[in-house]
């Protein structure tokens, strides 16, 4: 495999995998993800 192509492939793999893992970790920690936690209170408010 030519060096440039190999390097580009490595770059893409690193960006995608590390980006995916860290962003998913951020989403799990994000308050918006805890919308489920708000839903009951919203439901209660509607009631």
């Amino acid at each position: 495999m030519p060096g440039l192509l190999r390097s580009l492939l490595g770059f893409i793999i690193l960006v995608v995998i590390i980006g995916l893992a860290t962003c998913q970790s951020l989403v799990k920690a994000e308050p918006s993800n805890s919308a489920d936690a708000f839903l009951p209170s919203l439901s209660q408010a509607r009631l």
Partner: protein
């Protein structure tokens, strides 16, 4: 203590410090910073620890990677088969893989097998992007009563002196003299490479390593410092004459090493030694 141990870091050693290669790992995990603070705000201890530790591990991996790339650069510039002592690029790949696996498992809440796939993927990405550390099987062997390590050390010291001469050469503002010094350094590097390839030449080349490289270093550094303060035609001519002599002797030295003509080599060395003493260089 080796007499050349004073020659420390040179331009070549630090050249790659300013290269952007390897900086990617510093920026990719940036999302872990807000993730840590959000987890802190929500009071999730595990999430705080995982995100903060993951970020720290990525920074450590990036630092190792940059050091490994610098060591690899020095290795490729050196005429000697002296690979980096620690496999820093491989260590960086392992740390980045572990950090990603941990983030995917405990941070993103993937299952353990999926987290392992993340880790393997990052290791593969690191390998493809940066490669692994250079390992050279052609270690220098013992010869002429010297251990392989002693020869390796002497050659590494000499190689550092050559790089310091190159560094001093950059401060000299004279194209003709610059080219002469470059030619001397090129011959010196080829002699070092010859000795590394055939350590039996080490004993015969010791005077070259111990006296003349140091002499060239002193005279080049001295001229680089002096010519900036005073523009003397006589000084320049003397320096040119010395460089001419050194260049001739270096080329002869290499030829004699190739021809294994011990006697003639020693005679030439004595002649140059006397001349350099007369010039006040040694």
């Amino acid at each position: 203590m080796n007499r050349f141990s004073k020659v420390k870091r040179t331009v070549s050693d630090v050249l790659q410090r300013y290269s952007p290669r390897g900086l990617l790992l510093y920026f990719l995990p940036i999302a872990l910073i807000p993730a840590t603070f959000i987890a802190l705000g929500k009071g999730h201890l595990l999430s705080i620890l995982v995100n903060a530790a993951g970020f720290a591990l990525y920074m450590l991996a990036a630092w190792c990677l940059r050091k490994g790339l610098q060591a690899e650069y020095i290795y490729t510039q050196s005429p000697l088969p002296h690979p980096p002592e620690k496999p820093l690029k491989t260590i960086a790949a392992v740390i980045a893989a572990l950090a990603t696996g941990m983030i995917a498992w405990l941070g993103a809440k993937h299952s353990l097998p999926v987290a392992l796939m993340f880790a393997v993927g990052v290791f593969l990405g690191m390998y493809l992007r940066y490669g692994l550390d250079p390992r050279d099987a052609n270690k220098i062997t013992a010869a002429q009563g010297y251990s392989g390590h002693e020869i390796q050390q002497a050659l590494a010291d000499s190689s550092r002196i050559v790089r310091t001469i190159e560094q001093a050469n950059e401060r000299i503002r004279n194209t003709e003299l610059n080219r002469r010094i470059e030619r001397i350094c090129a011959v010196a590097n080829s002699i070092l490479a010859d000795i590394a390839a055939d350590p039996r030449d080490f004993r015969r080349a010791r005077k070259f390593l111990n006296i003349y490289l140091d002499g060239v270093l002193q005279v080049t550094q001295g001229y680089a410092k002096t010519h900036q303060q005073t523009h003397s035609g006589e000084l320049e001519q003397n320096f040119r004459t010395v460089l001419d002599t050194i260049e001739t002797v270096f080329q002869e030295q290499r030829q004699k090493l190739l021809e294994e003509d011990v006697f003639d080599l020693d005679v030439k060395i004595e002649v140059l030694n006397t001349q350099l003493k007369q010039e006040g260089i040694l």
